[in-house]
Symmetry: C2
Subunit: 335 residues, 2 copies
Amino acid sequence: MSPRRVVVVGSSGAVGRELLALLAARGVPPDRVVALRRRAADGAVPLDGFPFAPDDLALFCAGAEVSRREVPRALAAGARVIDLSSAFRRDETVPLVVPEVNGDALDGADRLVAGPNCTATLLCVALAPLERAFGLERVVVATYQAVSGAGARAIDELRRQTRAALDDAPLRPEVFPEPIAFNVFSHESALDPATGRNDEEEKVIRETRRLLGRPDLPIACTCMRVPVERAHTEAVDVTLRRPASEDEVRAVLGAAPGISLVDDRAAARFPTPRLAGGRDDVLVGRIRRSTGDPAGIQLVVCGDQLRKGAATNALAIMDRWPPAAPPADAPGPPA
Amino acid sequence: MSPRRVVVVGSSGAVGRELLALLAARGVPPDRVVALRRRAADGAVPLDGFPFAPDDLALFCAGAEVSRREVPRALAAGARVIDLSSAFRRDETVPLVVPEVNGDALDGADRLVAGPNCTATLLCVALAPLERAFGLERVVVATYQAVSGAGARAIDELRRQTRAALDDAPLRPEVFPEPIAFNVFSHESALDPATGRNDEEEKVIRETRRLLGRPDLPIACTCMRVPVERAHTEAVDVTLRRPASEDEVRAVLGAAPGISLVDDRAAARFPTPRLAGGRDDVLVGRIRRSTGDPAGIQLVVCGDQLRKGAATNALAIMDRWPPAAPPADAPGPPA
């Protein structure tokens, strides 16, 4: 689709800034991009009362609360919305889309599409080709998540606190409940006291099942934060339905859209957050059989949380979204 | 056993320094502790030509090469040896021991015992009670390994490189092949080109099977380095033979030796490397069911790699090791 204007809601956040940079890099003319934030600053317009228009495409990345309040207003004004918050991800009437995984879901999409959680997005880009080729029986994933998922302030906290740790000064956690400098901790999202899962794990499980169209897929997930700025790493163990050789798996993943294989055993070159940072694809490597299980395959997946995990996926949805059908009473295209 | 002298071979390394500190903290008189290193310095004696004596207990932590060369000499002199390197771990005639896991193996131990790989040690302290109570069907583990496992120089590299990264200066990796500052990478040990597993993963798999007495246990393992100084974290997914409730699992782990539960959902307090650093026990928490699998249980395990992963375990072996049987022609104890 080619909207008249692209409206970025939440332009001062970590994802918003990425979106503006990617739109500029694509050569979208500045007068077709509107940056909205809470208060006018740096060329951005205040969100409050902003007149959305039909033919606008609004990209929401200002958090679930803003989305719940403002997305209905944008839709009522006739705009299309790609919402990157969690506000609508559990609404079965709103397509949840990673184009490489379930792009077909966009064919029926009306005016609102949700972009998934970043960790689920990266995981599904790697899992979808395996599900198509061999079927998935079970997935176990442990994450090494960058702080950028908690926003720009979290990146500042990592840097500030690390400097303090090196100087033996007090660490003073503000954004995160635990010190992040030289530490690892369970993801800080709210924890369900009944299941023991945190909200991030819950999202990965639920959204992966939805994206893959496998509502009962067994997924065991542990989400952890590590002192890394912006790319997530995931250690993935997959039990396939149909056992496949390592070479078959490598061929399937190597041919899959959105994936770059980084899997050089001789040079010990594999995905790392430093390699994945600033890239629009998902790095996949360390493809190998797991021990004692003929259908077990292991992978390491890395992706830039702000790019492929959020902004890049939003633009891929925009590109893939078919033009709106004309209203029933409007003249059709020339035959 | 109560040896005449405790001889620490490799006293200037990260584990050696821990051993000396732990022996001093126990009140072992300084004249009963001998520190050996390559060259005399800081009160240490040169290893080369050191006269080991019967009744010495030698703790080797100077790497596999030194152990292969010097352990036979210590044994020939009549000393007992606890070797913390990988030199003898694959020798089935040498007991590989974590006292909480397979302390019985010491009853038949003659003069040489091996301490396992640190990652395997921490893992097995958590797995052994589950194996005993419910049986293990399969284990999937992803590690978040501190740099201390690569020695004291690696800790220096982490600090030096992190400071450089904060100052936007070049990182210059020396100990590790990849930058460790604000990064995550697959464990740097040699990689088997056929299996794709690195040597650390191979050790975890092989030694866990040996410690648990389960030579065919399916274990899928991914070993990664994270920018953390000295405690390892492990995300563990276990399939039990006999499905158990979360409460049963928590009760079994809470009563197990060497484990402290850190599993407070209300306060979101779970194991972290910062909590585990400097402690002699293994922290276990985030005990929960995995999704879609009635026999699946998940845990997070943290332990100080230099303490419980190495030095503390060596001293626990020393404490548990029965006194040597008197020679056949010596008088027995009074009846």
